[in-house]
Symmetry: C2
Subunit: 407 residues, 2 copies
């Protein structure tokens, strides 16, 4: 019988110092002893990536993205080498690989590359020799041998892609919380750990602000039906399984409440009310690689309308540059922006077959006199933009309204 | 006419912070503006390599050398990316490469690998596009794609090997001193900068303790007759040219005086005085990869002798382990060791054709009542072991005796 293979991903907080690296090494070895082949994917130590970005920003506000990837990919190379040494120290054989060495081939979109292929030959060879294989998360290499990175949280995607390429039996994501919660426990005291959640719900939650997993990794896991187990690095408890939808999940109306405080609202005022004008606005914005989230177009009474939308707060400066040009092009009246917003969302597969979720959400917010500024919905989520300072209060109100807390 | 090509190497102190990186970027660009193609080789920022080694040593006293190379090779990757960003910031195009990307192929001796080939195709391509090429010093890659490093000072060797592979017109070594001096200016106040020195002399001086260049890089430059120019990173002055011997050099008796305080003396006592026994001792030591420097065998009067030799101080612990076994094997009486020594040397091609250098050296030391414990000579150098605490005084005495100071 073939050996069972586990891919484990350890985030930056799990390897932030030598003591924690030794604990992770022990955990890896415990799986080896249980008879598993183990491939560990590691992030950079603690805040290393931010520190490196800080160095770059002292040189240039818009550093070359190729060189940025060259720079920040060193973070994982440090942690994987240290982790391999820690495993050796504890008496087992390990070997570490960069994304390039292990054949994680990506496209050429530096700082947000997508994996297009993995050549797992070298990993299989080393596993066959009985070694624990440690792989740098977050990074890959183009066909021209340029180093790329996969964007924030990209190590999750590395782990899932490796699990797929290696046909792993399990993909475990170790993090500083012990699973996926109904809401951020720092905001909601009685938030409950979920035993199980569907890919779709997790994808919405990740996109909406739950920082436990990179959204793309969930997408990839769902596409190839790779079960994920999100759990705590320093705990033995079972965490949250992320799997395909099972019938029982539909009985739950709402699985979780999320809060995203990292968006800003932009309003283009007095847009001439002509057919096709919204298309012109948003295609020009998209051409400049600015991601738009929610969009609202106010009803026109005077022959012109206001168009509002949200962007990621850190993109705002760049977005405004583009949008100022757009305002001129479409002969709009002007623009305003607002950093003081937060997006609160409820997510649940149950919404598909149950009505009344939106009504219950709006009522809960109204009861707390929290004003709703924008609304957007999908099949399994409803998001409302509220004032940023009321965001956490809104989460607590919704968590209670949908009875998500521990009994 | 083909463009002139310069390879420039910048050491760790030349790129120890963002301000200095910007200065180096300006210097590189000034060459580009003069019409040169430029390939810059960089070391890790300041003390990065030592900091990384410190992390490893907290995990294991004997970390895997493969993983150690994986770890410390990140240092140059950081500095080269930052330097490329700095060049961009100043308006010129630059691209950085790791040793692996640029095809610096080495043998598999991790932490002290030797370059066996360089595939310069990618560099030529980028130079043709008008880009400044920045290459990580100190590192290479094996044919199996494992990352290697070239040993302390290995960036010098990277620069020389690249100069050879690219058929560069000049190879400049930028450092924190502005050239090669007759003695360490920190020890001898009136030490004089040399305008020119031969490969052979520089090789001896580097091996004997002058830290300005890695000995192997000088060997390589001499072998392929690549002129080196050692000069200050933050100065415009001409430094020291290291070239093949020219006739005028022979008129100079002694070019420099060096001091090495990083050796220790080991004595094996009461070695049975039998033919071949010294051979047995030193072959067993060599087998354990311990480099021996000077050797003295005392004349036997009682049927047994004492054998003394020096080793690099940092190798002493490891050497003693081996030597204890050797003592048993050859049935010697015992062993002693002594960290309190220093080696002072005079170097000069002129010695070949002039006699009396040794006599003048011994006389100068005797005049200061500095006791000579061991002596070794080569065609162009004489070394004496003295007490460590008298080492600097010895250097000053010899510098004066051979009239090396500024007039």
């Amino acid at each position: 019988m073939a050996k069972k293979l586990v891919v484990q991903k350890y985030g930056g907080t799990s390897v932030e110092n030598i003591e924690k690296i030794m604990i992770v090494a022990k955990k890896i070895i415990s799986y080896k002893k249980k008879g598993y082949d183990v491939v560990a994917v590691v992030s950079a130590l603690g805040d290393t990536t931010d520190e490196l970005l800080g160095l770059a920003s002292r040189i240039s506000k818009v550093p070359s993205e190729r060189e940025l990837d060259m720079l920040i990919s060193t973070g994982e190379q440090v942690s994987m080498a240290l982790l391999a040494m820690a495993v050796h120290k504890l008496g087992k054989e390990a070997i570490s690989f960069t994304g390039a060495q292990v054949g994680i081939i990506t496209d050429t979109s530096h700082t947000k590359a997508r994996i297009i292929a993995i050549n797992a030959r070298r990993i299989h060879e080393e596993l066959k020799k009985g070694k624990i294989v440690i792989v740098a998360g977050f990074q890959g290499v183009t066909l021209a041998q340029d180093i790329t990175t996969l964007g924030r949280g990209g190590s999750d995607t590395t782990a899932v892609a490796l699990a797929k390429a290696l046909k792993a039996d399990v993909c475990e994501i170790y993090t500083d919380v012990d699973g996926v919660y109904t809401a951020n426990p720092r905001i909601v005291k009685n938030a409950r750990k979920l035993d199980r959640i569907s890919y779709e719900e997790m994808l919405e939650m990740a996109s909406l602000g739950a920082q436990v997993l990179q959204a793309r990794s969930v997408e990839l896991a769902g596409k190839f039906n790779i079960p994920l187990h999100v759990r705590g690095s320093f705990s033995e408890k079972q965490g949250t399984f992320i799997t395909k939808e099972v019938n029982a999940m539909e009985d739950v109306l709402v699985s979780g409440v999320t809060l995203n405080k990292n968006e800003a609202k932009v309003t283009i005022c007095d847009v001439p009310d002509k057919p096709g004008i919204a298309g012109r606005i948003f295609s020009q914005i998209a051409k400049n690689n600015i991601n738009i989230d929610m969009i609202i177009q106010n009803v026109s009474r005077t022959g012109s309308t206001d168009v509002s939308f949200t962007v990621i707060a850190s993109d705002l400066e760049r977005a405004l540059k583009t949008i100022r040009k757009v305002v001129k092009n479409v002969k709009a009246g002007g623009l305003t922006f607002d950093r003081g917003i937060a997006k609160v969302s409820v997510v649940g597969i149950g919404m598909r077959s149950h009505s009344g979720v939106a009504a219950r959400m709006f009522k809960a917010l109204a009861k707390k006199k929290i004003n709703i500024e924008m609304i957007s919905t999908s099949e399994i989520k409803i998001s409302c933009v509220v004032r940023k300072k009321r965001g956490e209060e809104a989460v607590r109100a919704l968590h209670k309204a949908f009875a998500l807390g521990r009994k």
